[in-house]
Amino acid sequence: MTSKLTLTKRRTFLTATAAIAGAQFTGPFIIKARGETPVKIGFIDPITGSLSALAVTEVESAKWTVEQLNKKGGILGREVQLLVEDSANDTGTGVQKAHKLIERDKVDVIMGDVNSGIAYAIMGVTAEKKVFHVVPGGHTDPITGKDCKWNVFRTCNTTAMDAAAVTGELVKKFGKKWFFITPDYAYGKTLQENFVKNLKKAGGTFEGDMLPIANADFSATLIKAKAYKPDVLLNNMGGAAQLNCMKQFVQFGMAKEMALGGALYELETLRSVPKEALTGWWVFEWWWNQPNVPAVKTFVDAISPAIGNKKPTARHWMAYVSIMAIKLAAEKAKSLEAVKMAHALSDMELPPEVSLSPNKVRYRAGDHQLMSDIFVGEVQQAGAGGPDDLFKVETVVKGEDAAGSAEDTGCKINWPA
């Protein structure tokens, strides 16, 4: 009796464990347009999952931007409809949602995804279906590098740009012996490769660990890092994982022995860092406090009331620029045809009220990568600018300077006949 019961439970339990599959297929969130033939933008982002904080910010900004556009006549005089789909941080789900948006909802444009792997996978769908596609926030290099597509434009930086922008500062200030803690997926791998390339050029040495993307406990890796005695610990993790790594780094007293740094940091994450753990040198892809750029203040003042009176983050900026770029491309092309829009946006310099940056910014023709400014600096405890004044910009690196040439990325754009 007992063994039979135990056997039944075990089988049930094993079946149950095997059945843990997280695909969620829910209907899209739609901002309804009033026009008869709205311009449809399908936005795929991981609203659930470990990158949800960033995705929710992007979606929040996209909704706000669409509202502003519709108040001013939309795109090509047609109102804009935003259809948001959750990729659930899963590549299969993201691809399935792309098919749904294109084939069933007949969207004119696709945006997404925060997750580099998903963005990369969606590219395959949009290229096949010849749909104009903007990647607001997926960083892995091949998207505008060796696997670039004529229909895909990217707003956020490549990992090569972020790594190049901050490497010089870290080497100059702290030294050339580094230890990497990097997430083991597309973004992390290309980021570390680029850091290593730059570090080797500077004559540096390194060791490092590739860890699962949602790794929660970093004690084992930090023990290794401490034994290596590096000048700099590169925390390349993202979201909550980046935050936990930072906290444990400080708790273990390692801040006294080595510097902390990395490529991309996000204000969404920084807000959650305990005061004592606010340390390190990082890259922000956009920063809300740019006293010398009047358009930034206008943007910040306009969007803040719609986002809980907080300061906008780089993710707000990415979604805003992406949608505004779609508008600019469509209006220059006078069409929503993907090929015409892509030609129109290639090498287009964004106006200051769209770029919100100190230098000239354009989607480079050679790889469709936005050449945006990169803000390198140090995390700080809240400054005079309020609770979101958590980053002190040390230097602004021009995107063109950090990116190298389009040819170097390996991108060769093949336009459709």
Partner: protein, 289 residues
Amino acid sequence: MLQLVLFNLTNGLIVGTFYVLMALGLSLIINLSNVVNFAHGNFLAIGGYLAFVLTPFIGFWGALLVSPFLTAILGFVIEKVLIRHVYTRNHIYSLLLTFGLGFILQDICRYIWGPSPLPLNIPQSMSAAVTPDLFFITWYRVFMVAVVIVAVAGLFALLRYTRVGMRIRAGTLDLETVSALGVNVPALRSLNFAVGSFLAGLAGVLAAGQLGLNPNMGDDLIMPSFIAIIVGGVGSLTGTLLGGLLIGVAAALTTVFYPSASEAVIYVIMAVVLLVRPRGLLGEEGMLS
């Protein structure tokens, strides 16, 4: 290298004790009610978020005491309202119910507290390392291990020396006979589910103090619990204890040699155990034997 291995062995035991705490609550519910509670990780998250709400009013220590009880009450209510209806049905009902419940609880957390990570502030003195040499052992981690030891000892004492505990143990072995002897089985199951939820809530507060809070924290932490139970043996709390420690140490030691596999190694252990000894390491022994 030896020092690195020893450090990671110790570290693995610390991490493993946390897995034990999570897995014991889950195991308790499986053993008596035959319900694989996929929402267990979300109860953990709820426990952490409740502590986040309570801390400004009653401090961390107060939240540590109160939050698990509130989680237990929530578990008790959910068992009464939802879970108890699927006990007599095919197992797939309870799987689907708890799986869906997990998503609902996660979205409730996301709706109320937002998707961004939140910190749970612990007393400053707890963040410091015990000694400069053992830099990875902070006072908070020591405290966490101590709490887990007390909780596990308390649970085992409850099950061995109290009337309710004896009924739970008996129900695990033969629920029909226990029912025939006049024990109020529905009440026993509700209480048992509440105790499991209490342990999830306690794990949530402890995890939040170290890792902070986010709506997905339960998902990130729950799989090691399932694996601890499978490795240790379904039906054996002692096995769950052993399984938790084993996978904690394995993950930590793997980080020394092949960090990318630090997550995969626990699945490999599970596969090996299932192939070599399908009932788990102590599965045959039964609870507390």
